[in-house]
Amino acid sequence: MNDRLRAVFVDALQLDDDVDVESLKYRDIEAWDSVGHMALIAAIEDEFDVQFETEQVIDMSSFKVAVDMLKGLGVSE
């Protein structure tokens, strides 16, 4: 799952290859601002065929949190 999610982050936020995605936090970099966040949420939902609730969208503050949320939604790989 981590690899797929990493690819979604890189694609949705248009990150450079050298960005350490796994330690990224919301608003740490310019690309992951509130506009980027919207694109990111939509891309994760598409890729893993899940739907986040409002609270989860607001709480998704890092790559790690996203991993945990996906696990909580039953995504295993």
Binding site: E30, H37, M38, A42, Q51, T54, V57, D59
Partner: protein
């Protein structure tokens, strides 16, 4: 956070808020020299207890246009919000640290949850996508649109990039999502102009929609549309009956006063309160008497915006007698300019 923020009665919320706001007042005194100086000049000593929320010292909202007021060190400033200045005084500057930036969408979410539930609904934005295209300089409108986007999914914009109504986009949205609950967001006059007018002309069915809107009535009053008329005509001509206006300002970001289901009254979430003051005596007005709106919120911690005297006129209609507990009120319009300036002159001297 799944608990309602509209549960407590007036008595319950006042006592809880008084403790929190007294602590918050001390917090800001300890962390903002300017704020401390203002309170000292009003003769309020440190550690003062207050018997009622109405006794808490307020700042005129205009002071955030003329002074840099913050309760965090410079190196903890994470974001500076600026309002569009409609008057000569320029724009407000509101300083947020990371915590404040994280808390405000959360509390906005807790408030809107009351009418939207926890699920993100398909969302029709009554605005143009170009409003969020330039990421570096959002207008206040763009920031509002973005802040709301979290509450929906599958966003469709009702205006094209040239600000023209995109009827096909709206029709397409309704074909896909119109049979289930969906969310509509926009600024009041744009909702009227670009949703109501278009829906009426094209006979669109909005009966499953939940509309959240804000932004003032001035442009609509000119064409004789007030809140009641707005609701009546939407219901009659489009089937849309779930309509929630809200009142909020950038100086208390994250706090909104939300119109209840039966309409024409705004309600305070439990972490906020409203007080209507007599513009001559500054005493609290009784129910039914119009006056200047003071807004109170526990959210502002990084800047001393927890008790603010606005430049708006309002009236409390009742207490614990409406859709939700607490006070219910309406905003009546702007305070005449000269009076508004007068209110803050009293204070500006203290920090000059």
């Amino acid at each position: 956070m799944s608990d309602s923020v509209f549960g407590r009665s007036q008595v319950e919320r006042e006592s809880a808020l008084l403790t929190e706001l007294t602590e918050l007042t001390e917090h800001h005194r300890a962390h903002s020299v300017q704020y401390d100086r203002i309170l000292a000049s009003l003769g309020i000593e440190k550690g003062r207890r207050f018997d009622r929320l109405a006794d808490l010292p307020w700042l005129p909202v205009r002071m955030f246009k003329t002074h840099d007021l913050k309760s965090i060190p410079d190196d903890e400033v994470f974001k500076v919000l600026t309002s569009s200045g409609t008057t000569g005084a320029g724009a407000s500057r509101i300083y947020l640290d990371k915590e404040a930036a994280a808390v405000q969408p959360r509390m906005l979410g807790a408030t809107l949850r009351e009418v939207l539930g926890g699920k993100r609904l398909p969302m029709l934005m009554i605005d143009t996508i170009s409003i969020i295209k330039n990421r570096r300089s959002f207008s206040a409108r763009g920031a509002g649109v973005l802040g709301m986007a979290n509450f929906g999914r599958a966003h469709v914009y009702a205006l094209d990039e040239n600000d023209q109504p995109d009827v096909e986009a709206v029709k397409g949205f309704l074909e896909k999502h119109g049979g289930e609950p969906f969310l509509i967001f926009g600024f009041t006059f744009m909702v009227w102009q670009y949703l109501y007018e278009v829906a009426k002309e094209h006979k669109l069915d909005l009966s499953n929609g939940i509309l959240i809107h804000s932004g003032g009535w001035k442009k609509l009053i000119d064409i004789a549309v007030d809140n009641s008329e707005f609701r009546r005509r939407f219901a009659e001509d489009t089937g849309l009956t779930q309509i929630h206006n809200y009142y909020g300002m950038i100086e208390q970001i994250g706090t909104v006063f939300l119109e209840g289901p039966s309409g024409n009254s705004l309600y305070c979430p439990e972490f906020a309160e409203v007080i209507i003051r007599n513009p001559d005596t500054w005493e609290e007005q009784p129910v039914g008497e119009p006056g200047v709106i003071e807004v109170i919120s526990t959210l502002p911690r990084s800047y001393p915006g927890h008790v603010l005297l606005t430049e708006d006129l309002g009236v409390v209609h009742g207490i614990d007698d409406g859709d939700w507990p607490g006070k219910r009120f309406s905003v009546l319009g702007r305070l005449p300019r000269a009076e508004a300036r007068g209110c803050s002159d009293t204070f500006s001297g203290a920090v000059a």
